[in-house]
């Protein structure tokens, strides 16, 4: 980073009179170059992670193997090395995850030498805590039950997640430190005011804070950061040939969970995933991007939101995410 101190530069300020451009006022000021946007976002996220570590008694970092939580892990390295992470990694496994993502998750945790806790929805189903209508039903919405059970089991008082405000309109109203009551519920009308960078992390026993250090990042920022940091991501993020069917507005990957219905014709086309969630409702997009740079180029000109393109469960109603979050979804 270049610092230009004591260098007097001239700036033309906006026109002071109301209508006409008269003599522009030229003011002299000392300048120093601002951090670039990725540096600024990174520093903000590190600051947030360190606040969690300092003030919360027993936090966990939600790691799914997806790109946002991959970025979170790098930010945690930047925040805490040369020390260890002051929290374990936690994954809520729906049982419908892509196998290559699960393989990546385990490998990454091992590389980092950090503790990974996995709690699976299969267990919640066996215990009768989750009742599904059918085996192949999307399990995204039911993750909340397993997550809340894990929070109770380990007495986590803070869960760090990779959600971003640009993902979805209910997320756009979320605080960085988002308070949840003892039922894990989010009350959008009664959020704590969040001012400057001073975070209120305090909770009573049984309550919980969800922390979103990359709230202010966009999908493009995430990919630019992955490129800059040369982070490995599961290969299903890159374009590959896959058997899919067209259903509704999206493409669905054919798997043991999704089989063609009558009249649906499976096709083999080049696709990539923009998010990696539940296999039964995560749709790939048609793409030829086989490298991070090509994904960045596609993301910069894309015309459809990340969730709009890739999540069937968010298209159920205008308020799907809002309703799920009120029930304890992260």
């Amino acid at each position: 980073m270049d610092i230009i101190l004591s260098d007097m530069q001239e700036f033309i300020t906006p026109v002071p009179n109301f209508v006409m451009k008269s003599e522009p006022i030229v003011i002299k000021r000392r300048t120093a170059r601002q951090l670039g946007h990725l540096d600024a976002l990174e520093s903000e996220s590190i600051h947030i992670l360190r606040e969690v570590a300092a003030e919360c008694a027993n936090p966990a970092l939600l790691f799914s193997g997806g790109k946002d939580s991959i970025v979170l892990l790098r930010l945690a390295e930047k925040a805490f090395r040369p020390g260890r992470f002051p929290f374990p990694l936690l994954h809520i496994d729906t049982g419908h995850n892509f196998p290559e993502v699960i393989e990546f998750r385990d490998r990454r945790a091992q590389q980092l030498g950090e503790r990974l806790i996995v709690r699976s929805m299969e267990d919640s189903i066996r215990q009768g805590r989750v009742v599904l209508r059918s085996e192949n039903q999307s399990r995204n919405a039911f993750q909340s039950v397993t997550l809340l059970d894990a929070i109770a089991e380990f007495r986590f008082d803070a869960c760090i997640g990779g959600a971003r405000r640009d993902e979805e309109k209910a997320r756009a109203k979320e605080r960085i430190f988002s308070f949840r009551d003892e039922f894990g519920q989010w009350d959008p009308k009664n959020q704590r005011p969040e001012l400057w960078d001073i975070y209120n992390t305090r909770v009573h026993a049984g309550e919980n804070i969800r922390v979103f250090p990359i709230s202010n990042w966009t999908e493009l920022d995430v990919w630019e950061y992955i490129a800059r940091e040369q982070l490995e991501v599961p290969h299903i993020y890159f374009a590959h040939t896959r058997e899919v069917i067209r259903r509704g507005n999206g493409l669905l990957p054919v798997s043991h969970l999704v089989q063609p219905k009558d009249g649906e014709q499976p096709e083999n086309i080049m696709v990539r995933f923009r998010t990696v969630g539940d296999m039964s409702c995560t749709c790939p997009v048609e793409s030829t991007a086989t490298s991070v740079d090509e994904i960045i180029a596609e993301t910069a000109i894309t015309r459809i939101t990340e969730r709009g393109a890739t999540r069937m469960d968010d298209q159920t109603s205008d308020a799907s995410m809002e309703l799920r979050k009120k029930e304890g979804y992260f």
Partner: protein
């Protein structure tokens, strides 16, 4: 988003701004227009709002629907909380805090304003400067937003009249002078038709200033943080105690203002002990120097007792260390301020018990008159004297936002009940 060379995006600036205005001033339409004309609206969003517009029996696309987030808001057709929006142009990245204009949600405006570089105050050309416009402007000045834009919107409804625009500007300027606000840009616009937002349009030929987008992309913001005084509140102490790092003791935190170099003399406050910077450690390797707002880990030459809540400063740039100070307080909670109770104050990385020892006055945000009161209720703003149990290391808010701001927490409910800005000592 427009087509952008990915490499060109790598080191552009981030500008945060808020939009403030009364109900129906067209805030949501303006944001919708900025997103739409800068090609930041996605097809699925556009098709969803087109669908909703027609469901409500209206024609075309109601851009204000883009910023409606929650079910409750859509039902009532209002905005109930701060919503954050993101867009980029090849020149800058933008974060918008969309703050509601309802009286009962002043706290959201203060929230959105606290991190903003710039505020757009929207005024309805037909209505002129209203009580609410004054309130929003006062809040923007209180929170010290560095740049203000007065957008006189709905010019289409006053026949794009230059006289109307100038009259509103004169009214506003008179009010702004009372607040000692001089760095204001005035612009006429029609967010509905897109005049002067991203495109100039053909309807305002008499206006020779820049468009809103032009201003947002080019206004210098590199001086918005204090670059003079080095302030480093310690967040965490890093002691790995591994074999190879047996003696490593690093102080982790973010440089809130100023800059630091290896070898600089530093003072630890409040203890007053001094040492020199030995290393600036980062994951990406050691640095010779670092500037705000970088997050780093510092090591020093001497073994001193330093913990979270302490602050490292350059020895020649000392802040105040005090257990009693005056501050402007904005009360955010439905539970009124109780001067008999102890609260918690979180200031930088330090949390201390605090007592409001005196309420000096409340400001009537509509008239700017000072009134004597016994308590503060929600949305009240005024000057108080605070006593704190342990000393705070602080600067005046107007000199340094990071070390001059604090929040007040109610220990019983754990809610954030007030926002505070430290005043210069009276005298």
């Amino acid at each position: 988003m427009s087509v952008i060379e990915s490499t060109a995006l790598d080191n552009i600036e981030l500008l945060r701004f808020i939009t403030a205005g009364s109900v129906d001033d067209g805030k949501s339409t303006l944001i919708g227009r900025l997103l739409h004309d800068s090609k930041s609206i996605f097809e699925d969003q556009l098709s969803a709002i087109t669908h909703t517009t027609s469901k409500r029996g209206m024609k075309g696309v109601d851009l204000s629907l883009l910023t409606d987030g929650l079910q409750a808001e859509r039902e009532q057709g209002i905005t109930i909380d701060v919503a954050y929006r993101y867009f980029a142009t090849p020149k800058r990245k933008f974060i918008i805090a969309d703050t509601p204009g309802h009286e009962q949600y002043t706290r959201n405006m203060v929230t959105g304003a606290s991190t903003a570089n710039l505020a757009i105050i929207l005024i309805d050309a037909r209505k002129g400067v209203l009580v609410q416009s004054r309130r929003h402007t006062y809040l923007a000045s209180l929170v010290g937003i560095p740049h203000l834009v007065v957008a006189v919107n709905k010019m289409d409804l006053v026949d794009y009249s230059c006289e109307v625009f100038e009259r509103i500007c004169r009214d506003f300027a008179a009010f702004a002078e009372e607040l000692k606000l001089y760095n204001i840009t005035y612009m006429p616009m029609s967010a509905l038709n897109g005049d002067m937002v991203v495109e100039r349009g053909d309807n305002l030929p008499w206006y020779e200033g820049v468009t809103l987008m032009d201003l947002l992309e080019n206004i210098p913001i590199d001086h918005d943080i204090n670059l003079d005084d080095f302030r480093f509140p310690v967040q965490l102490v890093c002691r790995p105690q591994t074999e190879e790092l047996h003696d490593f003791r690093g102080y982790m935190g973010r440089i809130e203002s100023g800059s630091i170099q290896v070898g600089d003399a530093v003072t630890v406050l409040p203890s007053g002990l001094t040492s020199r910077i030995k290393e600036i450690v980062t994951y990406d390797g050691p640095l010779d120097h670092a500037i705000a707002p970088q997050s780093v880990t510092l090591t020093i030459e001497d073994h001193l007792d330093i913990s979270r809540g302490d602050m490292l400063v350059k020895t020649e740039q000392k802040p105040r260390v005090t257990r009693e100070f005056e501050a402007m307080l904005c009360w955010l909670s439905e539970q009124p301020l109780d001067p008999k109770r102890k609260y918690l104050v979180k200031h930088t990385t330090r949390i201390v018990k605090a007592l409001v020892s005196r309420i000096n006055y409340r400001v009537d945000v509509n008239t700017l008159n000072r009134e004597a009161v016994d308590i503060f209720r929600m949305n009240d703003i005024g000057r108080v004297t605070l006593k704190v149990q342990q000393p705070l290391v602080c600067d005046d808010y107007e000199r340094n936002h990071a070390t001059g701001s604090f929040i007040v927490i109610d220990e019983a409910s754990n809610n954030t009940v007030a926002a505070g800005m430290i005043c210069p000592p009276e005298g």
